[in-house]
Protein backbone atom coordinates (compact mmCIF):
# COMPACT_ATOMS: atom_id res chain seq x y z
CA UNK A 1 0.00 0.00 0.00
CA UNK A 2 2.70 2.46 1.04
CA UNK A 3 6.25 2.23 -0.24
CA UNK A 4 8.92 4.64 0.93
CA UNK A 5 12.49 4.39 -0.31
CA UNK A 6 15.48 6.54 0.61
CA UNK A 7 13.42 9.63 1.31
CA UNK A 8 15.36 12.79 2.06
CA UNK A 9 14.22 16.21 3.17
CA UNK A 10 16.49 18.99 4.31
CA UNK A 11 15.42 22.31 5.77
CA UNK A 12 17.51 25.43 5.77
CA UNK A 13 17.28 27.15 9.13
CA UNK A 14 18.64 30.61 9.90
CA UNK A 15 20.67 30.85 13.10
CA UNK A 16 21.77 33.76 15.17
CA UNK A 17 22.84 34.54 18.70
CA UNK A 18 20.50 36.38 21.07
CA UNK A 19 20.73 40.14 21.43
CA UNK A 20 20.02 43.28 19.48
CA UNK A 21 23.39 43.67 17.80
CA UNK A 22 23.18 40.09 16.58
CA UNK A 23 19.71 40.80 15.20
CA UNK A 24 21.06 43.78 13.25
CA UNK A 25 23.96 41.69 11.99
CA UNK A 26 21.54 39.00 10.87
CA UNK A 27 19.82 41.53 8.67
CA UNK A 28 22.87 41.69 6.45
CA UNK A 29 24.48 38.37 6.87
CA UNK A 30 22.78 35.20 7.89
CA UNK A 31 24.21 31.93 8.90
CA UNK A 32 22.27 28.93 7.86
CA UNK A 33 22.23 25.47 9.19
CA UNK A 34 20.92 22.50 7.31
CA UNK A 35 18.63 20.22 9.27
CA UNK A 36 18.17 16.75 7.89
CA UNK A 37 14.53 16.21 8.74
CA UNK A 38 14.57 12.94 6.82
CA UNK A 39 17.74 11.08 5.99
CA UNK A 40 17.35 8.01 3.80
CA UNK A 41 14.04 6.93 5.28
CA UNK A 42 12.66 3.66 3.93
CA UNK A 43 9.77 1.47 4.98
CA UNK A 44 6.79 -0.29 3.52
CA UNK A 45 3.32 -0.69 4.91
CA UNK A 46 0.73 -3.17 3.70
CA UNK A 47 -2.99 -2.60 3.23
CA UNK A 48 -5.03 -2.83 6.45
CA UNK A 49 -2.05 -2.39 8.74
CA UNK A 50 -2.09 -0.18 11.82
CA UNK A 51 1.30 1.38 12.35
CA UNK A 52 2.48 3.57 15.19
CA UNK A 53 5.06 6.06 14.01
CA UNK A 54 6.94 7.31 17.03
CA UNK A 55 9.96 9.36 17.90
CA UNK A 56 10.92 12.38 19.99
CA UNK A 57 9.97 15.93 19.02
CA UNK A 58 11.69 17.06 15.84
CA UNK A 59 12.57 13.52 14.78
CA UNK A 60 10.89 13.80 11.40
CA UNK A 61 7.47 12.28 12.10
CA UNK A 62 5.44 15.19 10.84
CA UNK A 63 7.67 15.66 7.81
CA UNK A 64 7.06 12.06 6.84
CA UNK A 65 3.31 12.39 7.30
CA UNK A 66 3.35 15.62 5.29
CA UNK A 67 5.21 13.97 2.42
CA UNK A 68 2.89 10.96 2.49
CA UNK A 69 -0.15 13.21 2.41
CA UNK A 70 1.15 15.30 -0.50
CA UNK A 71 1.86 18.53 1.40
CA UNK A 72 5.65 18.51 1.13
CA UNK A 73 7.89 17.62 -1.76
CA UNK A 74 10.95 15.65 -0.65
CA UNK A 75 14.45 16.48 -1.93
CA UNK A 76 15.01 12.97 -3.20
CA UNK A 77 13.74 9.44 -2.80
CA UNK A 78 10.74 7.43 -3.89
CA UNK A 79 7.37 7.32 -2.22
CA UNK A 80 4.17 5.76 -3.47
CA UNK A 81 0.81 5.41 -1.79
CA UNK A 82 -1.52 3.02 -3.57
CA UNK A 83 0.76 3.26 -6.62
CA UNK A 84 0.73 7.07 -6.80
CA UNK A 85 3.43 9.56 -5.96
CA UNK A 86 1.70 12.01 -3.59
CA UNK A 87 3.32 15.27 -4.69
CA UNK A 88 3.03 14.46 -8.40
CA UNK A 89 -0.57 13.33 -8.53
CA UNK A 90 -1.74 15.33 -5.57
CA UNK A 91 -5.41 15.55 -6.41
CA UNK A 92 -5.93 11.90 -7.27
CA UNK A 93 -3.87 10.91 -4.25
CA UNK A 94 -5.66 12.95 -1.60
CA UNK A 95 -9.02 11.52 -2.64
CA UNK A 96 -7.85 8.20 -1.28
CA UNK A 97 -6.51 9.41 2.04
CA UNK A 98 -7.85 11.04 5.17
CA UNK A 99 -5.67 13.26 7.37
CA UNK A 100 -6.29 14.38 10.92
CA UNK A 101 -3.91 16.89 12.46
CA UNK A 102 -4.54 16.84 16.20
CA UNK A 103 -3.37 20.41 16.60
CA UNK A 104 -5.17 21.88 13.63
CA UNK A 105 -8.81 21.94 12.78
CA UNK A 106 -10.33 21.27 9.41
CA UNK A 107 -13.79 22.39 10.48
CA UNK A 108 -15.09 25.84 9.67
CA UNK A 109 -15.04 27.72 12.91
CA UNK A 110 -18.22 29.77 12.85
CA UNK A 111 -20.74 27.42 11.28
CA UNK A 112 -22.35 24.23 12.60
CA UNK A 113 -20.23 21.12 12.03
CA UNK A 114 -22.82 19.68 9.67
CA UNK A 115 -22.23 22.61 7.29
CA UNK A 116 -18.54 21.71 7.20
CA UNK A 117 -19.50 18.13 6.38
CA UNK A 118 -21.76 19.29 3.57
CA UNK A 119 -18.93 21.36 2.16
CA UNK A 120 -16.55 18.39 2.31
CA UNK A 121 -19.15 16.39 0.43
CA UNK A 122 -18.85 18.92 -2.41
CA UNK A 123 -15.05 19.17 -2.18
CA UNK A 124 -14.62 15.42 -2.51
CA UNK A 125 -17.60 15.08 -4.88
CA UNK A 126 -19.09 12.35 -2.70
CA UNK A 127 -22.27 10.89 -4.26
CA UNK A 128 -25.45 11.52 -2.23
CA UNK A 129 -26.08 7.89 -1.38
CA UNK A 130 -22.50 7.26 -0.20
CA UNK A 131 -22.52 10.50 1.78
CA UNK A 132 -25.72 9.79 3.66
CA UNK A 133 -24.64 6.23 4.39
CA UNK A 134 -21.24 7.32 5.71
CA UNK A 135 -22.67 10.24 7.62
CA UNK A 136 -25.22 8.13 9.47
CA UNK A 137 -22.63 5.46 10.21
CA UNK A 138 -20.07 7.96 11.48
CA UNK A 139 -22.52 10.01 13.54
CA UNK A 140 -23.75 6.84 15.15
CA UNK A 141 -20.40 5.26 15.99
CA UNK A 142 -18.84 8.54 17.12
CA UNK A 143 -22.00 9.61 18.96
CA UNK A 144 -22.34 12.90 17.09
CA UNK A 145 -26.06 13.51 16.40
CA UNK A 146 -26.38 16.37 18.90
CA UNK A 147 -23.06 18.07 18.45
CA UNK A 148 -23.01 18.39 14.67
CA UNK A 149 -25.58 21.16 14.89
CA UNK A 150 -23.25 23.26 17.05
CA UNK A 151 -20.66 25.68 15.60
CA UNK A 152 -17.16 24.16 15.86
CA UNK A 153 -15.84 26.96 18.05
CA UNK A 154 -18.31 26.06 20.80
CA UNK A 155 -17.33 22.39 20.99
CA UNK A 156 -15.09 20.89 23.64
CA UNK A 157 -11.78 19.51 22.40
CA UNK A 158 -13.01 15.92 22.75
CA UNK A 159 -16.20 16.63 20.81
CA UNK A 160 -14.25 18.50 18.16
CA UNK A 161 -11.76 15.70 17.71
CA UNK A 162 -14.58 13.24 17.12
CA UNK A 163 -15.95 15.59 14.47
CA UNK A 164 -12.48 15.98 12.92
CA UNK A 165 -12.16 12.22 12.59
CA UNK A 166 -15.63 11.93 11.08
CA UNK A 167 -14.75 14.75 8.65
CA UNK A 168 -11.67 12.93 7.42
CA UNK A 169 -13.57 9.70 6.81
CA UNK A 170 -16.62 10.97 4.92
CA UNK A 171 -15.06 10.08 1.57
CA UNK A 172 -14.13 6.49 2.51
CA UNK A 173 -10.34 6.89 2.38
CA UNK A 174 -8.23 3.77 2.12
CA UNK A 175 -5.46 5.25 4.25
CA UNK A 176 -5.91 7.34 7.36
CA UNK A 177 -3.09 9.50 8.73
CA UNK A 178 -3.49 10.58 12.31
CA UNK A 179 -1.00 13.15 13.59
CA UNK A 180 -1.34 13.19 17.38
CA UNK A 181 -5.06 12.51 17.43
CA UNK A 182 -5.37 12.24 21.22
CA UNK A 183 -3.35 15.32 22.16
CA UNK A 184 -5.00 17.19 25.01
CA UNK A 185 -7.99 14.86 25.29
CA UNK A 186 -9.46 13.66 28.58
CA UNK A 187 -9.46 9.97 29.47
CA UNK A 188 -12.98 9.28 28.25
CA UNK A 189 -12.47 10.99 24.90
CA UNK A 190 -9.14 9.25 24.39
CA UNK A 191 -10.74 5.86 24.92
CA UNK A 192 -13.60 6.74 22.57
CA UNK A 193 -11.17 7.86 19.85
CA UNK A 194 -8.95 4.79 20.20
CA UNK A 195 -11.92 2.49 20.20
CA UNK A 196 -13.28 4.07 17.07
CA UNK A 197 -9.99 3.91 15.18
CA UNK A 198 -9.65 0.26 16.05
CA UNK A 199 -13.15 -0.54 14.85
CA UNK A 200 -12.65 1.41 11.67
CA UNK A 201 -9.53 -0.59 10.90
CA UNK A 202 -11.21 -3.91 11.61
CA UNK A 203 -14.51 -3.25 9.87
CA UNK A 204 -13.33 -1.27 6.84
CA UNK A 205 -9.75 -2.49 6.53
CA UNK A 206 -8.54 1.12 6.57
CA UNK A 207 -4.76 1.39 6.75
CA UNK A 208 -3.90 3.60 9.72
CA UNK A 209 -0.68 5.47 10.37
CA UNK A 210 -0.56 7.20 13.66
CA UNK A 211 1.98 9.51 15.23
CA UNK A 212 1.71 10.15 18.93
CA UNK A 213 3.59 10.79 22.12
CA UNK A 214 0.98 8.92 24.10
CA UNK A 215 2.29 5.40 24.42
CA UNK A 216 -1.07 4.09 25.54
CA UNK A 217 -2.30 4.97 22.05
CA UNK A 218 0.40 2.78 20.63
CA UNK A 219 -0.31 -0.01 23.07
CA UNK A 220 -4.01 0.05 22.28
CA UNK A 221 -3.76 0.48 18.53
CA UNK A 222 -0.52 -0.32 16.81
CA UNK A 223 0.58 -3.86 16.17
CA UNK A 224 3.66 -2.47 14.46
CA UNK A 225 5.96 0.33 15.51
CA UNK A 226 8.33 2.41 13.44
CA UNK A 227 10.74 4.47 15.51
CA UNK A 228 12.37 7.49 13.93
CA UNK A 229 15.06 9.70 15.42
CA UNK A 230 17.16 12.47 13.88
CA UNK A 231 15.67 11.69 10.51
CA UNK A 232 16.60 8.03 10.45
CA UNK A 233 14.54 4.90 10.97
CA UNK A 234 15.93 3.29 14.09
CA UNK A 235 13.59 0.42 14.57
CA UNK A 236 10.75 -1.28 12.77
CA UNK A 237 8.98 -4.10 14.56
CA UNK A 238 6.18 -5.19 16.82
CA UNK A 239 5.58 -3.97 20.33
CA UNK A 240 6.58 -7.36 21.68
CA UNK A 241 9.94 -7.15 19.92
CA UNK A 242 11.02 -4.16 21.94
CA UNK A 243 9.54 -5.20 25.23
CA UNK A 244 11.54 -7.05 27.76
CA UNK A 245 8.33 -7.90 29.55
CA UNK A 246 6.48 -6.57 32.54
CA UNK A 247 7.51 -2.92 32.51
CA UNK A 248 5.36 0.05 31.60
CA UNK A 249 5.19 1.03 27.93
CA UNK A 250 6.48 4.54 28.66
CA UNK A 251 9.60 3.04 30.23
CA UNK A 252 10.15 0.78 27.27
CA UNK A 253 10.08 3.74 24.91
CA UNK A 254 12.20 5.97 27.14
CA UNK A 255 14.71 3.13 27.24
CA UNK A 256 14.68 2.99 23.44
CA UNK A 257 15.22 6.74 23.07
CA UNK A 258 18.19 6.50 25.42
CA UNK A 259 19.61 3.49 23.65
CA UNK A 260 19.56 5.26 20.30
CA UNK A 261 20.56 8.57 21.84
CA UNK A 262 17.78 10.60 20.27
Amino acid sequence: MIEVKALRKTFKVARREAGFSEAVKALFHREYEYIHALDEVSFSIGGGEMVGYIGPNGAGKSSTIKILSGILTPDSGVCTVGGRTPWKERRAHVKEIGVVFGQRSQLWWDVPVIDSFELLKEIYSIPDSVYSKNLSELTETLDLPKIIKTPARQLSLGQRMRCEIAASLLHDPKVLFLDEPTIGLDAVSKLAVRDFIKRRNQEHGTTVILTTHDMQDIEALASRIILIGKGKILLDGTLDDIRRGGEHIDETVAELYKKFDV
Binding site: G70, T73, R91, F101, Q103, L119
Partner: protein, 258 residues
Protein backbone atom coordinates in the same frame (compact mmCIF):
# COMPACT_ATOMS: atom_id res chain seq x y z
CA UNK B 1 -18.88 26.50 -9.57
CA UNK B 2 -21.39 24.69 -7.41
CA UNK B 3 -18.66 24.21 -4.83
CA UNK B 4 -17.80 27.90 -4.92
CA UNK B 5 -21.45 28.75 -4.22
CA UNK B 6 -21.32 26.38 -1.28
CA UNK B 7 -18.26 28.19 0.08
CA UNK B 8 -20.00 31.47 -0.62
CA UNK B 9 -22.95 30.33 1.45
CA UNK B 10 -20.69 29.36 4.38
CA UNK B 11 -18.91 32.71 4.27
CA UNK B 12 -22.21 34.54 4.16
CA UNK B 13 -23.44 32.55 7.14
CA UNK B 14 -20.21 33.30 9.02
CA UNK B 15 -20.40 37.00 8.18
CA UNK B 16 -23.99 37.14 9.36
CA UNK B 17 -22.93 35.87 12.77
CA UNK B 18 -21.36 39.23 13.48
CA UNK B 19 -23.88 41.63 11.99
CA UNK B 20 -22.82 44.78 13.84
CA UNK B 21 -19.18 44.75 12.87
CA UNK B 22 -20.08 43.55 9.38
CA UNK B 23 -22.22 46.58 8.56
CA UNK B 24 -19.90 49.02 10.36
CA UNK B 25 -16.92 47.88 8.28
CA UNK B 26 -18.99 47.94 5.12
CA UNK B 27 -20.02 51.54 5.76
CA UNK B 28 -16.42 52.51 6.50
CA UNK B 29 -15.39 50.95 3.18
CA UNK B 30 -17.98 53.07 1.46
CA UNK B 31 -16.79 56.19 3.26
CA UNK B 32 -13.14 55.56 2.37
CA UNK B 33 -14.01 55.42 -1.31
CA UNK B 34 -16.35 58.37 -0.84
CA UNK B 35 -13.57 60.62 0.52
CA UNK B 36 -11.53 59.92 -2.59
CA UNK B 37 -14.55 60.92 -4.62
CA UNK B 38 -14.79 64.14 -2.57
CA UNK B 39 -11.09 64.75 -3.17
CA UNK B 40 -11.62 64.59 -6.92
CA UNK B 41 -14.70 66.81 -6.68
CA UNK B 42 -12.92 69.50 -4.63
CA UNK B 43 -9.99 69.49 -6.95
CA UNK B 44 -12.21 70.07 -9.93
CA UNK B 45 -13.75 72.94 -7.98
CA UNK B 46 -10.44 74.73 -8.59
CA UNK B 47 -9.36 73.33 -11.94
CA UNK B 48 -11.59 72.67 -14.87
CA UNK B 49 -9.61 69.84 -16.30
CA UNK B 50 -6.64 67.59 -15.59
CA UNK B 51 -4.48 66.98 -18.61
CA UNK B 52 -7.50 67.64 -20.78
CA UNK B 53 -9.82 65.30 -18.92
CA UNK B 54 -13.02 66.74 -17.49
CA UNK B 55 -14.54 66.00 -14.09
CA UNK B 56 -17.02 63.47 -15.51
CA UNK B 57 -14.31 61.71 -17.48
CA UNK B 58 -12.06 61.35 -14.44
CA UNK B 59 -15.01 60.04 -12.44
CA UNK B 60 -15.67 57.44 -15.11
CA UNK B 61 -12.02 56.44 -14.98
CA UNK B 62 -12.02 56.17 -11.20
CA UNK B 63 -15.33 54.28 -11.12
CA UNK B 64 -13.98 51.67 -13.54
CA UNK B 65 -10.74 51.17 -11.61
CA UNK B 66 -12.55 51.07 -8.27
CA UNK B 67 -14.98 48.52 -9.64
CA UNK B 68 -12.20 46.20 -10.81
CA UNK B 69 -10.31 46.68 -7.57
CA UNK B 70 -13.41 46.18 -5.41
CA UNK B 71 -14.35 42.98 -7.25
CA UNK B 72 -10.90 41.52 -6.81
CA UNK B 73 -10.91 42.53 -3.13
CA UNK B 74 -14.25 40.81 -2.76
CA UNK B 75 -13.28 37.55 -4.45
CA UNK B 76 -9.49 37.34 -4.40
CA UNK B 77 -8.83 38.57 -0.88
CA UNK B 78 -7.78 35.03 0.08
CA UNK B 79 -4.34 35.88 -1.31
CA UNK B 80 -4.10 38.91 0.93
CA UNK B 81 -4.21 36.68 4.01
CA UNK B 82 -2.23 33.94 2.33
CA UNK B 83 0.85 34.48 4.51
CA UNK B 84 -1.26 33.72 7.57
CA UNK B 85 -2.70 30.66 5.80
CA UNK B 86 0.84 29.36 5.54
CA UNK B 87 1.62 30.39 9.11
CA UNK B 88 -1.33 28.66 10.73
CA UNK B 89 -1.22 25.52 8.62
CA UNK B 90 -4.41 26.22 6.69
CA UNK B 91 -2.48 25.74 3.47
CA UNK B 92 -1.45 22.24 4.60
CA UNK B 93 -5.12 21.46 4.79
CA UNK B 94 -5.72 22.93 1.36
CA UNK B 95 -3.05 20.66 -0.11
CA UNK B 96 -4.79 17.66 1.48
CA UNK B 97 -7.94 18.30 -0.53
CA UNK B 98 -8.62 17.11 -4.06
CA UNK B 99 -9.18 20.54 -5.58
CA UNK B 100 -7.05 23.13 -7.28
CA UNK B 101 -5.00 25.09 -4.72
CA UNK B 102 -5.67 28.52 -6.19
CA UNK B 103 -9.39 27.84 -6.28
CA UNK B 104 -9.29 26.78 -2.64
CA UNK B 105 -7.31 29.83 -1.52
CA UNK B 106 -9.82 32.03 -3.31
CA UNK B 107 -12.73 30.32 -1.65
CA UNK B 108 -11.24 30.58 1.84
CA UNK B 109 -12.30 34.17 2.04
CA UNK B 110 -15.02 36.27 0.51
CA UNK B 111 -14.64 39.78 1.80
CA UNK B 112 -18.25 40.96 1.88
CA UNK B 113 -17.42 44.29 3.47
CA UNK B 114 -15.98 45.33 0.10
CA UNK B 115 -19.54 45.61 -1.09
CA UNK B 116 -19.41 49.08 0.47
CA UNK B 117 -16.60 50.04 -1.90
CA UNK B 118 -18.40 48.46 -4.84
CA UNK B 119 -21.55 50.39 -4.03
CA UNK B 120 -19.60 53.63 -4.27
CA UNK B 121 -18.16 52.45 -7.58
CA UNK B 122 -21.60 51.63 -8.98
CA UNK B 123 -22.99 55.03 -7.99
CA UNK B 124 -20.09 56.86 -9.62
CA UNK B 125 -20.21 54.66 -12.70
CA UNK B 126 -23.90 55.29 -13.24
CA UNK B 127 -23.46 59.02 -12.66
CA UNK B 128 -20.55 59.34 -15.06
CA UNK B 129 -22.16 57.12 -17.70
CA UNK B 130 -25.14 59.44 -17.71
CA UNK B 131 -23.27 62.74 -17.56
CA UNK B 132 -20.27 61.98 -19.77
CA UNK B 133 -20.77 63.45 -23.24
CA UNK B 134 -20.06 60.15 -24.91
CA UNK B 135 -21.91 58.64 -27.81
CA UNK B 136 -22.57 55.22 -26.26
CA UNK B 137 -22.14 52.77 -29.09
CA UNK B 138 -22.18 49.03 -28.57
CA UNK B 139 -18.38 48.73 -28.82
CA UNK B 140 -17.86 51.49 -26.28
CA UNK B 141 -20.14 49.84 -23.73
CA UNK B 142 -18.34 46.59 -24.36
CA UNK B 143 -15.01 48.33 -23.82
CA UNK B 144 -16.12 49.59 -20.40
CA UNK B 145 -17.10 46.02 -19.48
CA UNK B 146 -13.72 44.76 -20.72
CA UNK B 147 -11.97 47.43 -18.66
CA UNK B 148 -13.75 46.40 -15.48
CA UNK B 149 -13.16 42.70 -16.13
CA UNK B 150 -9.53 43.35 -17.07
CA UNK B 151 -9.06 45.39 -13.89
CA UNK B 152 -10.53 42.59 -11.85
CA UNK B 153 -8.15 40.06 -13.42
CA UNK B 154 -5.12 42.32 -13.21
CA UNK B 155 -5.62 43.22 -9.56
CA UNK B 156 -6.33 39.57 -8.75
CA UNK B 157 -3.11 38.57 -10.50
CA UNK B 158 -1.22 41.07 -8.37
CA UNK B 159 -2.82 39.67 -5.23
CA UNK B 160 -1.80 36.21 -6.45
CA UNK B 161 1.77 37.42 -6.89
CA UNK B 162 1.66 39.08 -3.49
CA UNK B 163 0.46 35.82 -1.95
CA UNK B 164 3.09 33.74 -3.78
CA UNK B 165 5.85 35.82 -2.26
CA UNK B 166 4.85 34.40 1.12
CA UNK B 167 6.23 31.03 -0.03
CA UNK B 168 9.69 32.54 -0.15
CA UNK B 169 9.56 34.85 2.85
CA UNK B 170 6.90 33.09 5.01
CA UNK B 171 5.57 36.58 5.64
CA UNK B 172 4.15 38.75 2.89
CA UNK B 173 5.99 41.78 1.63
CA UNK B 174 4.35 45.12 2.17
CA UNK B 175 6.17 46.35 -0.94
CA UNK B 176 3.55 44.66 -3.07
CA UNK B 177 0.96 47.10 -1.79
CA UNK B 178 2.62 49.73 -3.96
CA UNK B 179 1.26 47.90 -6.96
CA UNK B 180 -2.18 47.09 -5.61
CA UNK B 181 -3.32 49.94 -3.37
CA UNK B 182 -0.87 52.27 -5.05
CA UNK B 183 -2.38 51.49 -8.43
CA UNK B 184 -5.86 52.18 -7.11
CA UNK B 185 -4.58 55.45 -5.69
CA UNK B 186 -2.96 56.81 -8.83
CA UNK B 187 -5.32 54.91 -11.12
CA UNK B 188 -8.13 57.30 -10.29
CA UNK B 189 -6.70 59.69 -12.87
CA UNK B 190 -5.92 58.70 -16.46
CA UNK B 191 -2.32 57.49 -16.34
CA UNK B 192 -1.09 59.93 -18.96
CA UNK B 193 -1.11 62.77 -16.42
CA UNK B 194 1.94 61.24 -14.71
CA UNK B 195 4.08 61.59 -17.77
CA UNK B 196 5.69 59.48 -20.42
CA UNK B 197 7.91 57.26 -18.22
CA UNK B 198 5.11 56.26 -15.91
CA UNK B 199 2.91 55.46 -18.87
CA UNK B 200 5.59 53.25 -20.40
CA UNK B 201 6.06 51.42 -17.09
CA UNK B 202 2.31 50.89 -16.77
CA UNK B 203 2.11 49.63 -20.31
CA UNK B 204 4.92 47.09 -20.41
CA UNK B 205 5.83 46.15 -16.84
CA UNK B 206 2.64 46.13 -14.81
CA UNK B 207 0.04 46.68 -17.50
CA UNK B 208 -2.38 49.07 -15.79
CA UNK B 209 -2.48 51.37 -18.75
CA UNK B 210 -3.93 48.56 -20.85
CA UNK B 211 -7.03 48.38 -18.66
CA UNK B 212 -7.25 52.09 -18.01
CA UNK B 213 -5.64 54.79 -20.14
CA UNK B 214 -5.74 53.37 -23.68
CA UNK B 215 -9.25 51.91 -23.68
CA UNK B 216 -10.45 55.01 -21.86
CA UNK B 217 -9.24 57.22 -24.68
CA UNK B 218 -11.16 55.04 -27.08
CA UNK B 219 -14.34 55.22 -24.99
CA UNK B 220 -14.05 58.99 -24.70
CA UNK B 221 -13.49 59.29 -28.42
CA UNK B 222 -9.98 60.77 -28.05
CA UNK B 223 -8.34 57.96 -29.93
CA UNK B 224 -10.10 56.48 -32.88
CA UNK B 225 -8.52 53.06 -32.57
CA UNK B 226 -10.97 50.25 -32.22
CA UNK B 227 -8.25 47.76 -31.25
CA UNK B 228 -7.75 49.65 -27.99
CA UNK B 229 -10.86 47.95 -26.75
CA UNK B 230 -9.09 44.58 -26.72
CA UNK B 231 -6.10 45.77 -24.69
CA UNK B 232 -7.74 44.85 -21.34
CA UNK B 233 -7.86 41.26 -22.60
CA UNK B 234 -4.15 41.35 -23.39
CA UNK B 235 -3.53 42.77 -19.90
CA UNK B 236 -4.99 39.53 -18.55
CA UNK B 237 -1.88 37.74 -19.81
CA UNK B 238 -0.20 39.25 -16.77
CA UNK B 239 -1.71 36.33 -14.85
CA UNK B 240 0.72 33.93 -16.54
CA UNK B 241 4.00 35.07 -14.91
CA UNK B 242 2.21 35.43 -11.56
CA UNK B 243 0.90 31.89 -11.89
CA UNK B 244 4.40 30.58 -12.68
CA UNK B 245 5.78 32.21 -9.52
CA UNK B 246 2.95 30.56 -7.62
CA UNK B 247 3.75 27.11 -9.06
CA UNK B 248 7.41 27.47 -8.10
CA UNK B 249 6.30 28.52 -4.63
CA UNK B 250 4.06 25.49 -4.17
CA UNK B 251 6.82 23.07 -5.15
CA UNK B 252 9.17 24.72 -2.66
CA UNK B 253 6.56 24.92 0.07
CA UNK B 254 8.06 24.15 3.46
CA UNK B 255 5.06 24.02 5.79
CA UNK B 256 5.46 25.13 9.39
CA UNK B 257 5.33 23.70 12.87
CA UNK B 258 4.71 20.16 13.96
Amino acid sequence: MKLYLKYFEIHLKSAMQFKGSFFATMISQFLTAFTVFLGITFMFGRFNSVDGFTYEEVLLCYAIILMGFGLSQLFASGFKVFDSMIGNGQFDRILCRPRNEIFQVLSQRVDFVRLGMLFQAVVMLVYSLVTCPVDWTFTRVLTVIFMIAGGFVLFSALFLLDGSIAFFTIQGLEVMNVFTYGALEHGKYPLSIYGRKMLTFCTFVVPYALIQYYPLTYVLGRADRLWYMFLPIIACLFVVPCWIVWRIGVSRYKSTGS
